[in-house]
């Protein structure tokens, strides 16, 4: 889901960068001493997750883990994802430095949206927790895929077609991410409930 360099037009890159800066600023403002370790660990998890890929048709997709990052970090997902993406661009040549802003927004904005949508339900009873955690993992990747479609709209011209294609390609990832998010949330709720109550 990393957009390569040289595909997007200037205005898209610029607005992506502006949104990423704004999101990161809010995230850093909300980042307090007690949550640094959590943010760092999740950033590292996000950094590694992209290396686990699922080959689909002519292209291939990989795990994102932005659902769980968003659910646990809220706005702090922005700096966590920005750092992870920057290191991925430098070390693995995924995405690129010019598309860093757009890629950050593509992955972190859905994370924040999902945080607001699903975090109120995480501390409810077991069934609701499982359903909302699964929905969070699933929906977050879905939103990211739609955002990729929106970013590519200006070059590929057909928003619906490209979005459908990206969403379809990421369907297996959505299902897997749903399970991973559910597993992590249920696990954390048992062993470290303080991590999901803030």
């Amino acid at each position: 889901m990393h957009l390569s360099e040289g595909i997007l037009s200037g205005p898209v890159l610029f607005s992506g960068a502006a949104l990423a800066v704004a999101g990161t600023a809010v995230g850093l403002k909300k980042l307090d001493y007690d949550r640094i370790a959590q943010t760092g660990i999740l950033s590292a998890a996000f950094f590694v997750a992209s290396l686990i890929h699922v080959p689909i048709g002519p292209t291939s997709v990989h795990l994102l883990l932005n659902g769980i990052v968003g659910l646990l970090l809220g706005w702090c997902a922005f700096p966590a994802i920005l750092i992870a993406l920057l290191l991925q661009a430098l070390f693995f040549q995924f995405g690129g430095l010019t598309t860093l802003g757009v890629n950050t927004v593509v992955m972190a904005l859905p994370a924040v949206i999902c945080y607001y949508l699903f975090s109120p339900f995480i501390n409810k009873n077991q069934v609701i927790t499982i359903i909302s955690a699964y929905a969070c993992g699933f929906f977050c990747v879905f939103l990211s895929a739609v955002l990729v479609g929106a970013a590519l709209m200006f070059t590929e011209k057909n928003f619906l077609e490209i979005s459908m294609m990206v969403v379809a390609a990421h369907l297996p990832v959505m299902i897997i991410e749903g399970f991973i998010t559910t597993f992590c949330i249920v696990f954390l709720k048992k062993v470290q409930p303080s991590m999901i109550t803030h």
Partner: protein, 230 residues
């Protein structure tokens, strides 16, 4: 006592399942396929390209577009299931070959004008003198230029039996043979171009994140200390 034991058992259960998941995740293919690379080389008047994802998987049915120096589209085509696409050099100009593997995956490769000219046997300097038909001229050229003449027998004494090749012809023959020999090596190099992230990269990245975490903790702890009333 029993409750304590059950709690421990529960913890162990979760811990082991978590470890199992981690093992599963890490045993998965470490190489990522989230970068596409196109590699192009010239042979004679043809350009060969090979496209693959960073895990070595070939890009099949990827769109390859060839642009000239001024970004004018010269030709386009699709890669075959082996990730190969070849075309005849459309123009003697620098070529920018762009591969689009869909969903925002793009790679490109540039071929310089010099590379193309060399491959097509066009030199930048004054063109080599035209091949002459008369025997005397050939002998003259052979004497004037450092061209190579292969002789069957002693060519000075018996010029009729001499098999003469001028420099250009000889170059063409050598190029043809070399192309044939070098082709598999170029292909191998193309495959080697594409290395997935190494373990060093992965742990390097994690190290950076932990380092940044430390820096943030340092500054925030200072702030926290300052905020606390003494």
């Amino acid at each position: 006592m029993k409750k304590n034991f059950l709690l421990k058992l529960n913890c162990f259960k979760y811990f082991s399942s978590f470890t199992l998941i981690l093992l599963f995740v890490f045993s998965a293919d470490f190489a990522s396929a989230h970068r596409v690379v196109i590699f192009a080389w010239t042979e004679g008047n043809m350009v060969f390209t090979q496209s693959q994802f960073s895990d070595g998987r070939k890009v099949s049915n990827g769109l390859v577009q060839v642009f000239d120096f001024n970004d004018n589209l010269l030709l386009k085509g699709k890669t075959d299931p082996n990730g190969d696409f070849s075309f005849k050099i459309p123009e003697i100009t620098a070529l920018n070959i762009v591969l689009n593997a869909g969903m925002g995956h793009q790679g490109h490769w540039k071929l310089s004008e010099k590379e193309i000219k060399t491959s097509m046997g066009i030199s930048d300097q004054k063109p080599a003198p035209e091949k002459n038909d008369t025997r005397t001229d050939i002998t003259k050229t052979a004497q004037k230029e450092p061209s190579v003449s292969l002789t069957a027998g002693e060519n000075n004494k018996n010029p009729d039996s001499a098999l003469l090749l001028d420099k250009k012809q000889l170059e063409q023959i050598i190029e043809k043979v070399l192309d044939k020999k070098i082709h598999p090596i170029t292909r191998m190099l193309a495959q080697m171009q594409n290395k997935g992230p190494s373990v060093n990269d992965i742990f390097g990245g994690i190290g950076y994140i932990l380092g940044l975490m430390g820096v943030a903790a340092f500054f925030l702890s200072k702030k926290k200390k300052n905020d606390c009333p003494k």
